[in-house]
């Protein structure tokens, strides 16, 4: 297996071989293929909340918290007066 070859590959020959070594090539119309795949992607949903979503959350959330607190207070009050 380790038989000596007549002439060993030198650094420069290795470099040359590596530079020209097999590389794949883009097919014709590759850009169009990629763009067609991108166009076929489902529309991305916007993840960042907009100002009106924050407003709706606040307008709905504050009364909900108040109502929960009111319920807890009335339950405590009923229990306290026996």
């Amino acid at each position: 297996m380790n038989k000596q070859t007549n002439k060993a590959f030198t650094d420069s020959e290795l470099d040359e071989l590596l530079h020209i070594s097999a590389s794949a090539t883009p097919p014709e119309h590759f850009t169009q293929q990629v763009m067609a795949s991108i166009n076929a992607l489902p529309q991305t949903i916007q993840n960042r909340p907009t100002w009106w979503q924050w407003l709706a959350l606040t307008l709905g959330g504050v009364p909900a918290i108040m109502q929960t607190l009111a319920f807890m207070f009335s339950a405590w009050h009923v229990a306290a007066i026996g």
Binding site: T5, N6, L14, L17, A22, A24, T25, P26, S37, T44
Partner: protein, 178 residues
């Protein structure tokens, strides 16, 4: 690449993105081919690279990395995944047995160009996939050591020392050693 184009891409301009695909497809295919992927798999990986880049365009920060470095980082990860999947599925065709004989018995001076390329392909196939990626990047003219170190996420000194070791290993294999 022009900052205006990058800005347009970040805003979702597909026409600007197609310019990026045009500009970088050739070095990308060259890299994937040199890594040892077949033409068909290289096409799949390159296409997936550009799709992922499009999907992640808003996260790209030109102040942190060049666009080519960003693209090749995506491509490298996909290519390595592809190799690992192929190894799991035992799908890689091994036609290298006869090539060992070339390496053992022939003087490279007597080998045809095609045989030399086959022999090199055999020597590359014996490298770990990370090493193949490194050597493929090193022999694409677009890249300096600093860019390779960013893509591979290792220091420049490590790029140089690993490249030296890989070249020695390739020479040993090409000259008939193991």
């Amino acid at each position: 690449m022009d900052n205006t184009i990058l800005k347009q891409i970040k805003q979702g301009d597909k026409r600007a993105f197609s310019l990026l695909v045009d500009r970088f497809q050739k070095p990308l295919f060259s890299y994937l081919g040199k890594m040892g992927l077949s033409q068909a798999i290289a096409e799949e990986v390159a296409q997936e690279t550009f799709i992922r880049a499009w999907q992640a365009r808003e996260k790209f920060d030109p102040a942190r990395a060049a666009v080519i470095t960003w693209l090749f980082t995506i491509a490298r990860r996909l290519a390595i995944n592809e190799f690992q999947r192929a190894m799991h599925r035992y799908e890689r065709v091994n036609n290298h047995q006869s090539l060992e004989e070339y390496a053992d018995e022939a003087s490279h001076a007597s080998l045809s160009n095609q045989e030399q390329h086959q022999l090199l392909s055999y020597a590359l196939s014996k490298l770990p996939v990370d090493d193949r990626s490194l050597v493929a990047l090193a022999y694409i003219k677009e890249f300096e050591f600093s860019a390779i170190s960013e893509i591979e996420n290792i220091p420049v000194g490590t790029v140089k020392s690993r490249l030296y070791r890989i070249r020695q290993q390739l020479k040993t294999t090409l000259n008939g050693g193991q």
